[in-house]
Symmetry: C2
Subunit: 146 residues, 2 copies
DNA sequence: CTGCAATCCGTAGCCGCTACGGGATCAAGA
DNA sequence: TCTTGATCCCGTAGCGGCTACGGATTGCAG
């Protein structure tokens, strides 16, 4: 197999924007196919590999998990581009993202309010942040008899 | 050491809301002190340990890292409750939280817009999500000569 | 042909847990 | 007292998604 004139992994890394070690990692976990090799054993990629890697990188940037990307790559193959299926994956991910945002927004509100009270306290010079952390809120306490 | 009438780890776990294995993990990494032991080798906690664990749990819920909590625990010790130092840690964390929210909000916008276009496309039945993922955006490409 | 950059590979580490498994111990009931 | 069944012991490995290390090879320009 004439893999002699393929692209080296370093080249592919630079032009796809995916770190060299990460490319080898993706290959190891089967996210991208193993490329051909030179006689000396170095990886030699076809230009197509660049597109696949760029797809993966873009998906990671958008927060898709490796497993989601595995699914998307399958769905993206020319021939059965099932937009409907793709939408399902994307919407599930969107839901996750929104949940995370909501979580963080709650934290942000609590932290901002508390930090905001620092230094502006009246007579008692106790620390609002520490008070917050020492608050034993309801959750997780179901200690009972015995 | 009369550690005989201390609280068992299971009890502490239930009433602090921290999983049993997580408590052992915290002890292993030195986040909480090792408690006394019964004759048989079981951990026997003092009531004070409950407060410390609750503090840790609350901090984790608010997204502080283990190392941040280590710092906070030091600062929370009665005697030198340096509110100013605590505020520094909390503000750094707040900044992180806000950065994450901003990141996620950007993702959310892109995903929502894209998914929203699914099915409402005109003649060409291509998939907006796939098109998004196949877009090779500027970042990360600095392939040049040679 | 020489010299140095690039690549090879396997392994271990990061964070914050969680799970597993086989044995020891504890506490309550009979 | 004995027995049972719940609890706890400990070490180790795994999760996701990489990143880093390091010694040996290969590639390629001068």
């Amino acid at each position: 197999m004439r893999a002699s004139h393929g692209l080296s992994i370093g080249r592919v890394a630079r032009s796809s924007g995916v770190h060299l070690e990460t490319i080898r990692y993706y290959e190891r976990i089967g996210l991208i196919p193993a490329p051909g090799r030179t006689e000396g054993g170095h990886r030699a990629y076809e230009p197509l590999a660049l597109r696949r890697l760029a797809f993966v990188r873009r998906s990671r940037e958008l927060g898709f998990s490796i497993e989601e990307i595995r699914a998307l790559l399958g769905l993206a193959e020319p021939g059965h581009r099932a937009c409907e299926d793709v939408r399902v994956v994307a919407e599930a991910h969107l839901k996750d993202v929104r949940a995370k945002i909501a979580d963080l927004a709650r934290l942000e509100a609590v932290l901002a309010e508390t930090v905001g009270r620092c230094g502006t306290e009246g007579p008692a010079p106790s620390c609002p942040v520490l008070e917050l952390l020492e608050t034993a809120d309801a959750k997780g306490r179901r200690d009972s008899k015995t």
